[in-house]
């Protein structure tokens, strides 16, 4: 029944031309007249908001913006914006941060960026010889890259901590564990944030 209804009251655009063996041309479908193509006889052109020079400047700015967006889209999966890199270097120096040994549990989707439960556990025996010295949580896109740092020792018995943190936006969050032998292990988690914490 539904498929039998034909559009009524509206002239099928270009249909007549197609039946004559010619497809609809662009000009037949789209009105090409606008403020720039309007004949002068119809009246003076409306004043333009920007002059040609400014327009060029705006075009350049838009081009730069587009380039920036492309850069964002094509950047590598593990993103490390400058502030995060600086914070990591200040905290750990030139030591290598390796992926692994850290289990970082964060909700895949945070409906409220103000309260995001985060759970970090580290694969470590927690003995006097081999233990986790510290656990750090870093953010990629919060206003400040540092979130929390917790100092542990062999007396903790188990390297598992949790906290509630804030997320400004959809981003990647990094948990780094500093071992007693000085090595650094990490886990990165993607999180989608519906409501930002910074409003």
């Amino acid at each position: 029944m539904g498929s039998a209804i034909k559009p009524s009251g509206r002239r099928p655009v270009g249909r007549g031309l197609e039946e004559q063996g010619r497809g609809p041309r662009y000009e037949d479908r789209v009105t090409t007249e606008n403020a720039f193509t309007r004949p002068a006889a119809r009246g003076p052109r409306p004043p333009l908001a920007v002059s040609g020079i400014h327009d060029a400047g705006r075009r350049r700015a838009l081009g730069a913006l587009a380039a920036g967006v492309c850069l964002l889209i094509t950047r590598p999966a593990i993103a490390t914006p400058d502030e995060l890199v600086v914070a990591l270097r200040e905290t750990f120096g030139d030591r290598k941060i390796q992926p692994g040994r850290v289990r970082f549990e964060l909700p895949r989707l945070a409906e409220n960026g103000n309260i995001v439960p985060a759970l970090v556990s580290v694969d470590s025996p927690m003995t006097e010889q081999d233990y986790v010295r510290a656990i750090h949580i870093f953010s990629e896109k919060n206003p400040l890259p540092r979130i929390l740092e917790m100092r542990l020792g062999p007396h903790n018995g188990r390297a598992a901590v949790s906290a509630r943190i804030r997320m400004a936006t959809t981003q990647q969050v990094l948990a780094v564990a500093e071992m007693s032998d000085g090595t650094l292990w990490s886990a990165a988690v993607d999180i989608d944030v519906t409501v930002s914490s910074c409003t």
Binding site: V116, P143, E149, H155, N156, R158, R166, C198
Partner: protein, 109 residues
């Protein structure tokens, strides 16, 4: 306003020697990040808990440095190996000089 609210700590009353117990802590605090604005568009000044530590019979067993990205009413959990009966003392400090402490006894059997 600048006072740190009461703290809530959950420690098991009893534990066997050598057991690993989970300790849950929370302190009431606005933890204002300093990045928010009020209805008039004025920035709300930062007021956050900056440090937390826990001692077990006088020895520090856990500490944390908190940044503005920690939620209101900072909540943290960690683990501890029960070694001997003793007091766990929890201390929170904020960036306006506010301090609050909580004490819980852990009995080791």
């Amino acid at each position: 306003m600048s006072r740190i609210g009461p703290a809530r700590v959950r420690v098991p009353e009893q534990a066997k020697r050598g057991d690993i117990v989970e300790i849950r802590t929370m302190v009431e605090h606005p933890n204002e990040s300093g990045f928010r604005h009020d209805n008039m568009g004025r920035p709300i000044p930062r007021h956050i808990v900056t440090s937390f530590n826990c001692t077990y019979n006088g020895k520090e067993v856990f500490s944390a440095v908190l940044h503005p990205a920690v939620s209101t009413n900072p909540y943290m959990t960690f683990h501890l190996r029960a070694v001997e009966t003793g007091d766990l003392v929890f201390t929170w400090k904020d960036d306006q000089g506010g301090v609050t402490t909580a004490t819980q006894k852990l009995t080791v059997v």
